[in-house]
């Protein structure tokens, strides 16, 4: 899951950032904005690779200190890979910059997956204190 120079796209509702990878998949992670609201992650639950993920349907969960947040995607996709290191020890997510530590990679069902998502400028503007 090597980072690329591709731009980040954000979903405020799902609390996720998304970045296109050269092989057509998309890496996905938790936004700093969401992590600030949740606190330091203590547990992450994800389904296995190959699981179809439907738009706005919860597929996993992040739990911080007694706070649960259901994970869902803003578009249809299939789960390609999971970040097993993060699953084993989610504490590393705390403080991770947007785009730096993905939870998973997915293969979108449609090519225009970023349509309707926020670019970085719009997201920063929306979430500015």
């Amino acid at each position: 899951m090597a980072p690329t120079d591709a731009p980040l796209f954000f979903s405020y509702a799902t609390g996720l950032w998304h970045r296109a990878l050269p092989d057509g998949t998309v890496s996905v992670g938790l936004t700093r904005h969401l992590l600030t609201l949740l606190g330091a992650p203590e547990f992450v639950r994800l389904p296995p690779p190959g699981t179809p993920l439907s738009r706005c349907v919860p597929f996993g969960c992040v739990e911080t200190q007694k706070t649960a947040f259901d994970l869902s995607l803003p578009f249809d996709a299939v789960l390609e890979t999971r970040n097993e290191d993060v699953l084993e020890d989610p504490a590393g997510l705390d403080g991770a910059a947007d785009g730096s530590l993905p939870l998973l990679t997915i293969r979108p069902a449609a090519g225009n997956w970023s349509a309707g998502l926020l670019d970085e400028t719009a997201f920063r503007s929306l979430t500015a204190p």
Binding site: A13, L34, L37, L38, E42, F43, R45, C61, E63, T64, Q65, K66, T67, A68, F69, D70
Partner: protein
Amino acid sequence: MTFHFNPSTDPGFNLALEEAFLWKAPRGGVFLLWRNAAAVIVGNNQVVADEVDGAYATEQDIPVYRRRTGGGAVYHDAGVVNFTFVVPADGDSPAVLLGRLLPHLGVAGIATDRNDVLVGGRKIVGTAQALANGMRLFHGCILHNADLQTLSRVLTPPPEKLRRHGVPSVRARVANLVEFLPETTEDFMARLARACVQANGWDERPLPPELLADAQTRRLFPESVFCE
């Protein structure tokens, strides 16, 4: 913020009602007060068999429900008073919300960094949260006059060599509020409601019929207590 008293003691319905408020609460927020019939309520990411004595729960006819919020397993009965805040996620923190409740418990309780409340070093209030739809569901249970013997027994799972991947409960010494302030649970609930409404300027209202109907449709069903 509006205050609603929920008279239902059906855990499946009550958890669904919380969920309904999470998706349709007014921006000003809501506060609910309610109780359940005897039940175990496990956290979102817990493995039931790791947290519950399944054989005892079955024998005593104590159902197990899974809630949306995180944290550990709790035991509810008529002596446990539950509260729920549903507020904007970027609004008041759980510590601030708990601060609206704490002065009215009637005892000198101390809030911990886990947003629990201790009296004399023993836990009388446990809390948990979920974030969704831009809102925060922050709820907790107040041990007023719970059956602590059953609580201890049902929340002690049989020893297992292999613990499955889930969030473990954090065990704590617990106490009932009635040890420090004798009154019936009904009187306690009424006093707490009155004090919170007056001190915080909340608007007491009946439960919205559309959310009651929603909760009835989405009523939760008990979990299996044994591993698959």
